[in-house]
């Protein structure tokens, strides 16, 4: 097991206000556009971002341009790491279902909706900003003292 290698990262900058942080697949893919060596591409079927680990030069540009700084360099090979939806059959969904928590599920949309969906990019936020919102939702006014 390798917690720091997980493409789904859960930030807990303050206990209780956990942030689930993973690629939200912006409709305009700023990360793909930023890559100087064309190591990033969009999967035709899932619309997920794929990383060619041979090509990646670990420059970190994709992290900087992501509105949520979501990608990270893998602690093993130091290459850009982004959720690839396990090619359309995500392991996270399977294990969550198996455990009967059903907190994760796969959303299926017609291609034309999925491609033009502007809302997804709104989820791409920095963990610190998301923490503030989630903390206020949970702790109310007190959140200001906590995060």
């Amino acid at each position: 097991m390798w917690p720091e290698a997980s493409r789904i990262r859960i930030f807990m900058l303050f206990p209780g206000a956990e942030v689930i942080h993973l690629c939200s697949q912006c409709h305009d893919y700023p990360c793909v556009a930023s890559c100087p060596v064309n190591a990033l591409s969009v999967d035709k079927d899932t619309l997920a971002v794929k990383v060619d680990r041979e090509k990646c030069i670990s420059c970190g540009k994709c992290i900087d341009v992501c509105p949520g700084n979501i990608p990270f360099l893998h602690p093993g090979d130091n290459k850009a790491t982004i959720c690839d939806l396990c090619d359309g059959d995500p392991e996270c969904v399977k294990v969550c279902r198996e455990a009967r928590f059903d907190a994760l599920w796969l959303l299926k949309q017609p291609r034309q909706w999925a491609e033009g969906n502007l809302n997804r990019k709104l989820f791409a936020q920095k963990p610190e900003d998301l923490t503030k919102d989630i903390a206020e939702n949970i702790y109310g006014e007190k959140a200001k003292e906590l995060v």
Partner: protein
């Protein structure tokens, strides 16, 4: 290298700013595993010869924090905190859950041993293969939420500076002490998150005595390799299927948060007003009250566990608005509720939150508050002694008392020594016997499960345990008891542990052939013998006499005054009988001292030699 282990332990001397890595031989690991067991061995090796003279709050004591081979690889990762206990003067393995142990193992370390005393407040930062001692000025004196906020920020900023390209750093894991620990209050805990505490043993005070505020760990490496990855994967899923799912009321759906009503109403074994009663039927203190009014999270777990025993309770309205804590867990429901004469969930949440923020153990600290309140009820302590009226149920008064203890002001300085030591002092001050109101076993305030009704804990569970008042490590027959020694040594949570699978799981991780029988007959007892020897040697301020102190507190021989078990009490004759049976089963003589032949058989010649002076 043994599997399941990171392979190194940090050995830090704060007096001389020295940090080194040590390794433990496979032979020792196989025998003592980790956590409680390994710490007992390390403590004995380093302090055994001078045990009676080691002041638990002096620089010569060790503060030991250890994981085990199963930690973070089995659901329910915990860390075990030990040292010479400032409560029992023996060795207590005290565990708490959170992400610190997994971060530590990913950083390449199985544990940290801290000796000496820093000149000024410090914290230890452990990152991949490296440790450093850092200034803790900013967090000295801060309450728990503030400590977490500041340390998370500081460490993440520092790591981003060192490794600017790799992306956003996730928060580290940490253990820390609160203001109570800093001021060497003997009921102070070592905490993770806001309300996860290693409470028994008083190790928060040991941290404070070393000027050590926190140990922070961030590791980016994988968890250690296991001997059989495919077996571990299969077993993980099976443990998860059996124990971590929504079809289990306990712990997944209700956590322990329904116990505050149930333990009193059903089994009459919940402390009420310093254990003067153990039964109540206050339905307003029932689980649904906490659940519907206060729980904002119902499914919450630490890393690699879907057990979900944690809830998040917040008071949303009224004078206690803003207070937040865990369920509260049953122990805190009881100790910060009925045992202080509080029967309203929002007040109980407020008190639970307060003890967390100040860094008390939620069992031990409030046990002392209730002890003081009973002395006030009986006129032994007066308004003049305390500074205000200390009546049952008065949250504001208990808050004032808690803060006085933390600051060691006036009577607070006496009560900061824990219930038993305070009782001795007050007896002397007032010329009365206050020890009969002290509910403890060998200096350790007892968990919230009584023995009088006969429906909950067994009569010698606490009395003969080397963990004393610890409700998670009671003893019965010197065989089954070894289970908790194992959980504390492999360092996993007993809530998500299935004994049918535990040994296969252990073997799949370590590759060793250890069996349950071998553990229960040899390895577990060996650890218990070391703990027992340390406890009986004790010192320097208190030495226990098994004839007197292997017993329940006097209160537990008074008849229950109310409820369906009214009139019932713990039978002294049964206690004496079971005590002798237990002594015999575990290999102690009729005076409760481990027998020479048994110790020699277990290879503990050094322990045997040290006990000569008390055998006589």
């Amino acid at each position: 290298m043994p599997r399941g282990y990171a392979g190194k332990i940090l050995d830090i001397d704060l007096s001389n700013d020295k940090i080194k890595d040590i390794t433990i031989s496979e032979e020792v690991l196989k025998n003592y595993v980790g956590g409680r067991g390994l710490a007992a061995r390390i403590l004995w090796d380093r302090l055994g010869k001078k045990w009676q003279n080691v002041d638990p709050l002096g620089p010569e004591n060790l503060f030991i924090t250890l994981t085990g081979p199963m930690t973070a690889i089995h659901p329910g990762a915990r860390v075990c905190i030990t040292g010479k206990s400032p409560q029992s003067n023996g060795i207590i393995g005290s565990t708490c859950s959170g992400e610190f142990p997994s971060e530590l193992k990913c950083a390449g370390y199985d544990g940290v041993i801290v000796s000496g005393k820093a000149e000024k407040p410090v914290y230890i930062l452990v990152t991949d293969d490296k440790a450093e001692i850092r200034d803790a000025k900013k967090v000295w004196g801060t309450e728990s939420p503030e400590t977490i906020r500041i340390l998370n920020k500081e460490v993440r900023e520092e790591l981003s500076k060192r490794h600017p390209k790799i992306g956003v750093w996730k928060e580290p894991g940490m253990i820390y002490c609160g203001p109570a620990g800093e001021n060497r209050v003997r009921t102070a805990a070592v905490l993770q998150k806001v309300s996860h505490a290693a409470g028994y043993g008083g190790y928060g005070a040991v941290m404070g005595s070393k000027n050590l505020k926190a140990i922070v760990a961030k590791g980016r490496k994988p968890l250690p390799d296991v001997a059989s990855p495919s077996a571990v994967r299969l077993l993980w899923r099976e443990v998860d299927r059996r124990l971590c799912n929504r079809e289990r009321e306990w712990p997944t759906v209700h956590g322990t948060g329904y116990g505050g009503y149930e333990t009193a109403a059903r089994s009459s074994s919940e402390p009420i007003r310093n254990w003067q009663e153990e039964w109540h039927d206050e339905k307003g203190f029932g689980g649904p009250k906490f659940d519907y009014r206060h729980w904002v999270k119902r499914c919450w777990s630490d890393f690699n566990c879907a057990g979900s025993c944690m809830k998040l309770a917040i008071v949303k309205a009224g004078p206690y608005k803003g207070a937040f804590t865990d369920d509260p867990d049953y122990e805190l429901q009881a100790y910060c509720g009925p045992n202080l004469g509080i029967f309203e969930p929002d007040k109980c949440i407020y008190m639970s939150a307060l003890v967390d923020y100040l860094g008390f153990s939620g069992i031990n600290g409030p046990n002392t508050f209730a002890f003081a309140a009973e002395l006030y009820q009986r006129g032994i302590l007066t308004k003049r002694d305390i500074g205000f009226e200390l009546t049952w149920g008065d949250v504001e008064a208990f808050e004032k008392l808690a803060r006085k203890i933390v600051k060691r002001e006036g009577i607070g300085d006496v009560l900061a020594e824990g219930t038993y030591r305070a009782a001795l002092k007050i007896s002397e001050m007032k010329g009365v016997d206050a020890t009969k109101y002290a509910v403890h076993v060998k200096g350790v305030e007892i968990g919230a499960h009584g023995t009088r009704s006969g429906e909950d804990y067994n009569p010698i569970g606490y009395a003969c345990s080397p963990q004393c008042g610890d409700h998670t490590s009671g003893v019965y027959d010197a065989y089954r008891d070894m289970g908790s020694v194992f959980s504390d040594s492999a360092v996993i949570c007993s809530f998500v542990q299935d004994w049918e699978l535990t040994w296969d799981y252990y073997r799949a991780i370590t590759g060793w052939e250890t069996t349950q029988e071998e553990w229960n007959r040899v390895l577990g007892p060996r650890i218990m013998q070391i703990q027992r020897a340390a406890l009986l040697l004790g010192g320097p301020d208190i030495v226990w006499n098994p004839a007197v102190h292997d017993d329940n507190p006097p209160r537990w021989y008074e008849p229950l005054p109310s409820g369906p078990y009214k009139g019932k009490t713990t039978d002294k004759k049964v206690v004496e009988e079971q005590k002798q049976q237990f002594y015999k089963a575990i290999g102690w003589d009729e005076n409760g001292i481990p027998k020479s032949e048994i110790l020699k058989k277990l290879g503990l010649e050094d322990v045997d030699k040290a006990l000569e002076k008390i055998r006589k």
